[in-house]
Amino acid sequence: MASARTSGLPRWVLVPAAAGALFIVLPLVALASRVQWGSFWSLVTSDSSREALLLSLRTSGTATVLCVVLGVPMALVLARTSFRGQALIRSLVLLPLVLPPVVGGIALLYTFGRQGLLGETIDVLGLQIAFSTTAVVIAQTFVSLPFLVVSLEGTLRTAGQRYEVVASTLGARPTTVLRRVTLPLVLPGLAAGAVLSFARALGEFGATITFAGSLEGVTRTLPLEIYLQRETDPDAAVALSLVLVVVAVLVIGLVRGRSNAL
């Protein structure tokens, strides 16, 4: 991967490529250069910052688990079966990926909100979703589920069905094949998808602020805290932004590490 292979590639391609790389890296450098290193630690460990980070980690973790629970069966159905309207279903599943998150938030509001489609049902069950941490998890799951489905479906297709066919001809029942053959085979892809879902959930902003609101320790995740701090304390906003950048770098490192291991 790291070996320089320039054969066949025109030299001029390097110029726009370098410009593109600079375009991505420069804003991050600019952000880092604005960090007040003297007060960095106290800014990122203030009560409200800590609450926001812990809430973000907790909700993103829960959302990732939900993504795995719901997304693995979805990817299996999309990759291993064929039925009428499958292409349509696949497009719909991918929709949250391209939808502006604020649109997702509005849609969730009219589904799970008090006046929403399921509002009365939820009320009857005695649950309170509006302005609760549950609402944050719902918003995060909604936007990050497609990441897991897409990456796992790709892995499933690449892995192919040879081993599954062999296992079933040897008498293994479908559940056994799934458990002993399919899932172990795609585990690295599943892990990569889960990490990406986690990262997307961690960065979720638009759907959360529209659907869940913003209250310290309950619904105010790190991105919301950054957006709010910007109003009065830009230094704190910059410091917290850097924390999220570091998390993002770790996530990319994790995903790449997994793929290189294959």
Binding site: F131, A192, G213, S214, L215, R220, L228, R230
Partner: protein, 262 residues
């Protein structure tokens, strides 16, 4: 496997570009470039709460001054002042509070001195049916009433905190929103039982919300200053617009929207 990671990474990129927040600075930069020599174009940065009044005043100003085009950028006052500090091409700035205008003045961005053109006070907004039966500011202290406020960091939240103090009550909001629009949104959608918003917001929302006035609101008054900016290429036109807003016609439009006299 590598291709999956690459595609997953591109998905991540795609999502981050659509995940950006709610800032809205579209189209204001090229306003001055395309006009013919005899035409003059000015860009007005104005607080979001001034949107409908200023849009109306902009058309009236264009009619009164043929050849002049007025373009607007409406956003939160602190966003606007940050954009002006970073060199955004603005000719006039109208802030929803004196704090943000003071920031611009302190950085020598204001030509002359700002003129106060309007005031705004808070009012309780409830969904049309007023499901929680809110009649007074004291009702907002009831823990069973789901109240949404602005976060103390933003101007409307600072005003709400002032009102709480004036009324001698303590409100435990279910959410502290980023802007007054977000508060109104939670009330209109019926998620919240009540919210503290500006008088002008209740008026603009029409029958989507019910307004409940309370005497303590007069103790906390937000003042809206307007000023021509030193960065303007057309200082005369910029000043003329500011004077126009402060003049009879401007004051009449602002009063019709529910703003108080300065």
């Amino acid at each position: 496997m590598r291709s999956i990671v690459v595609s997953a990474a591109s998905i991540l990129l795609l999502a981050t570009t659509t995940a950006c927040g709610t800032s809205d600075d579209n189209g204001s930069d090229d306003a001055a470039t395309s006009s013919a020599p005899q035409d003059t174009s000015i860009t007005v940065f104005a607080a979001a709460s001034l949107k409908s009044s200023f849009t109306e005043l902009g058309s009236a100003f264009e009619k009164a001054n043929p050849g002049v085009t007025v373009t607007f950028n409406f956003a939160g006052s602190s966003d606007l002042v940050a954009q002006i500090q970073q060199g955004a091409p603005a000719d006039v700035f109208a802030s929803a509070d004196t704090t943000n205008m003071d920031k611009a003045t302190a950085d020598d961005l204001v030509a002359g001195s700002p003129t106060d053109v309007a005031t705004n006070t808070l009012e309780i907004a409830t969904p049309p049916g007023n499901p929680a039966g809110v009649d007074s500011i004291d009702d907002l202290a009831d823990p069973d009433v789901k109240v949404v406020l602005c976060a103390p960091e933003v101007p409307c939240g600072a005003a709400a905190a002032g009102v709480e103090k004036a009324a001698g009550i303590s409100i435990s909001p279910v959410s502290e929103e980023q802007s007054v629009t977000d508060v109104l949104g939670k009330v209109v959608s019926g998620e919240a039982d009540a919210g503290l918003v500006y008088v002008t917001d209740v008026k603009a929302a029409g029958d989507k919300v019910r307004g409940v006035t309370f005497p303590e609101s007069s103790r906390v008054v937000n003042t809206y200053p307007i000023a021509a900016l030193t960065g303007s290429k057309h200082p005369d036109v910029a000043k003329a617009f500011a004077d126009f807003v402060a003049g009879d016609q401007g004051q009449a439009v602002l009063a019709a929207a529910g703003f108080g006299a300065p």
